[in-house]
């Protein structure tokens, strides 16, 4: 069976909430076509917005300029969704399992409150990757987010479990209020990394401009778990899977002592 391909007819003027599409695995192609989505104050059928081809509703492909489409893959289970281009805000929000592959950029709150599965963004992502929604107390709770480009500010804010991998640079407040879990950044990070971090790990390839004063310098260590952790990423199509980029020697900073203080920033050493 070929993937169900949705090709955008013309870019809508209002933002569109595409979350109903996450029900696709339980529906027939005709039912997917009949799903109703909100755009501003109007409701549209999916087939009013997209040309639909193919029949496998477990594999969805979105084509066209989807930057105004929000909540793509929200709360999805066992859905494989590919966006051949850029996507709007809240992509992969609350996803339970399956994959979301964005071949362009993602807007703010990508993979926020993710629970499982893999969200892969080939371009860059906006602020609050893997974070909690405003007002909520827990961000991402499981799964893996891989961003090949850069991410904005507050990456992994209140992250509870799971891994955020950033091949490019991260903005300010990276790993802020992180509860547990891991945020790994290969590029540079902005100001205030690990602000209010409670437990969990911020793993950095490059030393930030400054380490927050509420972190204690624990010296340089060789950590046995790091090779195991890298080995766990081998199957990803990513620079994180390349053994050349792995290491086990790190400079460890414990903190944030202004919060619970049982977390750490690990910076690649030597």
């Amino acid at each position: 069976m070929s993937a169900l391909t949705l090709t955008l007819k013309s870019a809508p003027r209002q933002r569109v909430d595409l979350s109903p599409l996450s029900a696709a695995p339980e529906l027939t192609p005709a039912e997917v076509a009949a799903l109703q989505v909100w755009a501003g104050k109007r409701r549209y059928r999916i087939d009013e917005l997209f040309e639909i081809e193919g029949e496998d509703t477990r594999n969805l492909v979105l084509r066209g300029d989807c930057r105004k489409f929000d909540y793509v893959g929200r709360d999805a289970r066992d859905l494989s969704l590919t966006v051949a281009g850029s996507v709007g805000a809240y992509a992969g929000m609350g996803m339970r399992s399956g994959t979301l592959h964005v071949q362009g950029d993602a807007d703010i709150f990508a993979a926020c409150e993710l629970r499982g599965g893999l969200v892969r963004i080939d371009g860059s992502a906006g602020d609050f990757v893997g974070a909690a929604l405003p007002g909520d107390k827990r961000g991402m709770r499981g799964g893996i987010v891989l961003v090949k480009g850069d991410v904005g500010a507050r990456c992994g804010d209140q992250l509870r479990r799971g891994i955020v991998l950033v091949e490019g640079d991260a903005g300010d407040w990276c790993g802020s209020r992180l509860i547990a879990g891991t945020v790994a950044v290969m590029g540079r990070v902005g100001k205030h990394p690990g602000y209010g971090l409670r437990r969990g790990t911020l793993l950095l390839w490059q030393r930030p401009e400054s380490i927050p004063p509420t972190y204690g310098d624990c010296g340089v260590h060789t950590l046995g778990f790091l090779p195991l952790w890298f080995a766990g990423l081998r199957r990803l199509d990513s620079r994180f899977a390349d053994p050349a980029n792995a290491f086990d020697r790190v400079h460890r900073y414990g903190g944030d002592l202004a919060a619970v203080g049982r977390g750490e920033i690990l910076i690649r050493a030597g």
């Binding site: 929604l133 007002g135 107390k137």
Partner: protein, 553 residues
């Protein structure tokens, strides 16, 4: 236009009608005697249907500062429960703290036509009325909150005479467009700001030297002497504290026969027996209520699930903040004259305390003999959102269902309650008393809550169902002031209700001392504080209905 409601089975306790087949006639928004020879314009065949007056919720937090704080603090409550707009209805959202429009729709869809906000802070009264002004279909009203305000506490400290307090209370009712007076943790909200963390009935306020007993007595006397129909509405001391049953019993006896309404009494009926030092005081409370005809209560039933507790009682909310779920809460001062606390909470049936709270509420419902003196509330949203009323009614009317629910609770809690042995089941007539006739009488609405000629045509029609929860959740018809607003549980027409108030007389001399006080201490001038009728009516939807006070001074 003359409407005939033909052949329904009518439950109208105000007139002693218990399930008799009757015709009702409605003209110009009122129920009328059958006009001889007049032509009926519209007839509804209600044979086999149950007809009651529109239901009245006499204690529900639907407007004002703390509800808005709850809305702001709980975006997840709104995200999880969106209501999309339709041709007829506006969009809205919210489960525990719904938006104003949604509040009106959901109440009406359950056959409710009137609701009272029980904690209108005088300084925030305008905000409360503006919010309630956006609640469609329902009639509404508020109880003005006194008892921790600096002006009254100064009066009591300085030994002001009862007459002066009466004038201040009457002035407050007039200025805030309210229908009753509420007191929350008397003196305690103020004492909290002087670093007291508890204030029992006879404990002195550290700064003013006044006790809660004094405050209650003075205010209950004022309300009584002014002839305000609704007795002093009391949220007592020590809410939620194990052992507070003693305080509540002392409050009942201490009021010395004055009319008193004890609200969400479930939260004030806890003993300290058993392994967990937490037990039911329901039997003792019910006995005291049965023995004191001056006392009325509403229950504040707890039902399981996520909700939010919003109260003026900053002292108790601060003490309970550690139980917040999700972990966030607000306790704040309001205009240096009151306070509030908003703590989201999840009641769990597998939790011993929560399970016993559930049982205590039901025990009170079932052990208080007189349905005219016990009222159906969940203290929305504190015990549960108002949308769970049909479920609560089923718990009261269906013993098998009740015991089946009970059997799922925390086993230790089951051992601590006599609920399983209580055989009483509420009848439709008794439900009609507690949600209609009794509530209207308690608040002082002479033309609501009954179906006699002259009453406002707020009428709810149900189709009998073995599952009364389903029956009460989806009325077949709801008429508001004679207009059909709900059909088969769905809104078909949106109308606007009135705001019920009382305006007792008072000596204008009180305004002189108030003007000085406002100029010296408060954030606004006296003239800006007073809410005029025009402010409520100026949008063309609202109106003010004044109910008579029989002065006893």
């Amino acid at each position: 236009m003359l409407i005939k409601l033909k052949g329904g089975t009518v439950y109208d306790p105000a007139h002693g009608i218990d399930g008799q087949v009757r015709d009702l006639y409605v003209q110009d928004g009122r129920i009328v005697e059958p006009p001889p020879g007049a032509r009926v314009d519209r007839e509804y065949d209600l044979s086999g249907k149950i007809v009651m007056a529109g239901a009245i919720d006499m204690h529900t937090h639907i407007g004002g500062g703390k509800v808005n704080i709850a809305r702001v603090m709980l975006p997840e409550d709104h995200r999880a429960d969106p209501q999309y707009h339709t041709e007829r209805l506006r969009s809205g959202c919210g489960h525990a703290a719904p938006s104003t429009w949604t509040t009106g729709y959901r109440y009406a869809e359950m056959g409710f036509t009137t609701a009272f906000e029980p904690a209108v802070l005088p300084v925030n009264a305008r905000q409360a009325h503006m919010e309630m002004g956006d609640i469609p279909i329902l009639d509404k009203g508020g109880y003005a909150m006194l008892g921790s305000d600096d002006f009254l506490l100064r009066m009591l400290r300085d030994g002001a005479d009862q007459k002066a307090v009466n004038d201040y209370v009457a002035w407050t009712l007039n200025a805030t467009q309210c229908i009753g007076i509420k007191v929350v943790n008397p003196g305690g909200i103020s004492a909290f700001k002087f670093n007291q963390r508890a204030l029992d009935l006879d404990e002195r306020h550290e700064y003013y030297g006044v006790t809660p007993r004094q405050i209650l007595k003075t205010l209950a006397t004022a309300v009584h002497e002014l002839g305000v129909p609704h007795p002093l509405h009391v949220h007592g001391c020590n809410l939620g504290v194990p052992g507070n049953v003693e305080t509540t019993l002392k409050t009942i006896t201490g009021i010395e026969g004055l009319p008193l309404h004890l609200t969400h009494i479930q939260f004030h009926s806890y003993g300290t027996e058993g392994d967990f030092k937490f037990s039911s005081g329901a039997a003792r409370i019910a006995e005291a209520v049965n023995a004191n005809p001056n006392v009325t209560v509403d229950v504040g039933q707890v039902l399981f699930g996520q909700t939010v507790t919003a109260s003026g009682d900053n002292m108790r909310q601060h003490a309970n903040a550690g139980h917040a779920h999700p972990k966030k809460w607000v306790c704040m001062d309001i205009e240096c004259d009151a306070g509030c606390g908003v703590v989201p909470f999840k009641y769990r049936d597998r939790n011993f305390v929560n399970a016993l709270q559930w049982a205590i509420g039901l025990e009170i419902f079932l052990l208080v003999d007189d349905p005219w003196r016990v009222f159906l509330t969940t203290d929305h949203p504190n015990g549960a959102p108002f949308t769970s009323y049909p479920h609560l009614i089923r718990l009261l009317m269906d013993r098998t269902f009740r015991n089946e629910q009970l059997s799922r609770l925390h086993p230790e809690a089951q051992k601590m309650t006599t609920l399983a042995s209580i055989e009483r089941e509420y009848s439709l007539y008794e439900i009609a008393i507690m949600t209609r006739a009794g509530a209207a009488r308690l608040v002082g609405l002479e033309d609501r809550g009954h179906l006699g000629p002259g009453a406002a045509a707020d009428i709810t029609v149900y189709t009998p169902d073995d599952d009364v929860e389903r029956m009460f959740a989806k009325p077949t018809y709801v008429f508001k002031d004679g207009e059909l607003v709900v059909k088969d549980g769905e809104i078909v027409h949106v109308t606007w209700g009135t705001t019920h108030t009382v305006k007792p007389d008072y000596d204008r001399a009180i305004e002189r001392s108030l003007t000085d006080y406002f100029d010296r201490y408060l954030t606004m001038k006296l003239d800006n504080f007073i809410i005029s009728d025009e402010e409520i009516a100026e949008d063309g939807r609202g109106s003010v209905t004044v109910h008579p006070c029989g002065g006893r001074g």
